[in-house]
Symmetry: C2
Subunit: 337 residues, 2 copies
């Protein structure tokens, strides 16, 4: 079986996706008799387009000079061309715009309107317009998958399928690795917020403008998606009570520590309310993870807490989630091993 | 849609399964338009049989006096009657026999020979005769699911489906809550093994004959199943190098502690080898769980470690895993929401 893919965005995640498709080509052929053909790769200023399949090895080798390849089309836009792409699946990996969700939102809508299944690592569209996207997908009999948007490779959304005989009641999670790194450093070294942030930036764990992370908007977007998917809610990011970590002082962390607690930046969905804020948790709680890890604790009706943890960021990590989504869609489309 | 179930074993897990089917009846009807009909419940000395469906409420109310119900048939055996049951799914919840796998193994084989899908919470048959069962299921186009056999409700087997775009390289796990409780108590209180074991027995966390747990056979059986399912191996319990926890002395735990380590009873699958033995792990490792919890750490090719944890035992916990398996089989059989 051949599946034709339109990739939008050739940043870290998009490039890692291409890398994985290349690495796993033989594997897919042997295990699933599956061939993934990438027929277009869109960037903001043009696209690589080859209807019969782009030579991925060549694109990867070209690195940042991919615009010099002969099949680069200048100034074409994904939004205008999706309908002409004859793709089975559109993979949206552009950066999140937390105000408008664009251009990802338009890409997703355009794909669905053309009855193309969608996989996204871009979370903005989902915490802004969850209902709209879901309804449009339903109307057009399309699948929309977005495992990579929350905790990256950790299957925090897919796990629902494995708990269908149970009932998820509430969620407590740490969904922003940058903030968790900063709080971990503050606790371990007794340094204040500004120094820990600077360290995170130097190590590449924090953006040069870290506002979305440290003020809690990133985690807020993710808990919206988790709650909507796992608890069946219909919230948007406007419904989240958000408090960041920039006001936390070393003294507060010390006080907590002396009582056997740590301060963590939790994202919580319970009692029909969404909250992102610093909270005390017990030192020996499974939520007390260090560094840039993510953790998701699901309180269930029949089996207490079920906890997942792992890396919450990284190109290959997110790309592996995209591939999971892709194989899952193919399976749901009746494609079998 | 109606699905007819033959339940074998009316112990803690079997009874909890009935409880869940009863609790979730309206839910199943509303969400999936699904009706689960339990037409037979086998015990070692007879069976409740009602072709059109047993009144589950009545059975639960009868408690241990269920043999007094009018549809109790004395001395009939599951093995002899499975072929006549007209069941879609056979649910095997008899206790594990670690030497022979019986009677569970025969039940499973008989069901598959009659083209009945199988769900099991009994792990013996799977760590003894994994290949045989898998081949028989394949030959008869049947599904065999057994999520409850490893870490109970924690979806340690089902997770594979959510990581299909990744690749699981190795496994490190704590799969026996009894041993973990004993080691946790020894570490926290400085008591010796015999005292911690006695405490576990008094609290109902350990059997009166705790051999299978403390000598590591229980965890060994589980790591066989995990490795075969997640890593594609074909091992049996004879391939596991096993060392129990009864020789661990408080002094060793103290020494470890003073260096920042704890002693945990790990089950490991890596480099084509299966090992169950006490190991040192760092105090802040996510594997350092306390009490009767279970944890499974999957080392993956593209996303580092992915960790799952939760309760590894309990009737409702296991029953929720059975229900997951049931819904998963129905989905694979083309039944949709």
């Amino acid at each position: 079986m051949k599946v034709k893919v339109c990739l939008i965005g050739k940043g870290t995640v998009g490039t890692s996706f291409l890398q994985l498709v290349k690495n796993k080509r033989d594997d897919f052929k042997r295990k699933f008799n599956l061939e993934i053909i990438v027929s277009s790769i869109f960037e903001h200023d043009g696209a690589l387009i080859a209807e019969n399949g782009i030579n991925i090895g060549e694109v990867l080798e070209a690195g940042k000079y991919f615009r010099n390849l002969p099949y680069w089309k200048e100034k074409v836009r994904a939004k205008d061309l999706i309908s002409t792409m004859d793709a089975n699946i559109c993979i949206e990996t552009t950066p999140t715009n937390s105000e408008t969700g664009e251009p990802g939102l338009s890409h997703i809508i355009e794909a669905l309107n053309n009855k193309i299944d969608v996989i996204s690592s871009n979370k903005g569209p989902f915490y802004l317009e969850y209902e709209k996207i879901k309804n449009l997908a339903k109307k057009n009999n399309c699948f929309v998958k977005y495992e990579a948007t929350v905790a990256s490779c950790v299957p925090s959304l897919g796990i629902k399928e494995q708990l269908i005989g149970n009932e998820i009641l509430s969620i407590r999670a740490i969904l922003n690795g940058t903030n968790n790194f900063i709080l971990s450093r503050m606790a371990a070294e007794g340094v204040d917020f500004a120094i820990a942030l600077k360290e995170a930036q130097e190590l590449g764990f924090a953006e040069s403008d870290p506002t979305l992370d440290i003020e809690g908007f990133d985690a807020a977007g993710k808990i919206v998606i988790l709650a909507n998917d796992l608890l069946g809610w219909s919230k948007s990011i406007d419904d989240v009570k958000i408090e960041g970590i920039s006001q936390i002082i070393p003294h507060a962390i010390d006080l907590a520590k002396s009582d056997g607690y740590v301060i963590k930046h939790l994202a919580i969905a319970e009692n029909n309310e969404l909250v992102v804020e610093p909270r005390l948790i017990e030192r020996y709680s499974p939520l007390n993870i260090s560094g840039t890890l993510n953790v998701v604790e699901l309180e269930t009706k029949y089996a207490g807490s079920i906890i997942l943890m792992g890396r919450g960021a990284g190109g290959l990590e997110a790309a592996s989630a995209l591939i999971n989504d892709l194989l899952s869609i193919l399976k749901n489309r009746g494609f079998s091993e």
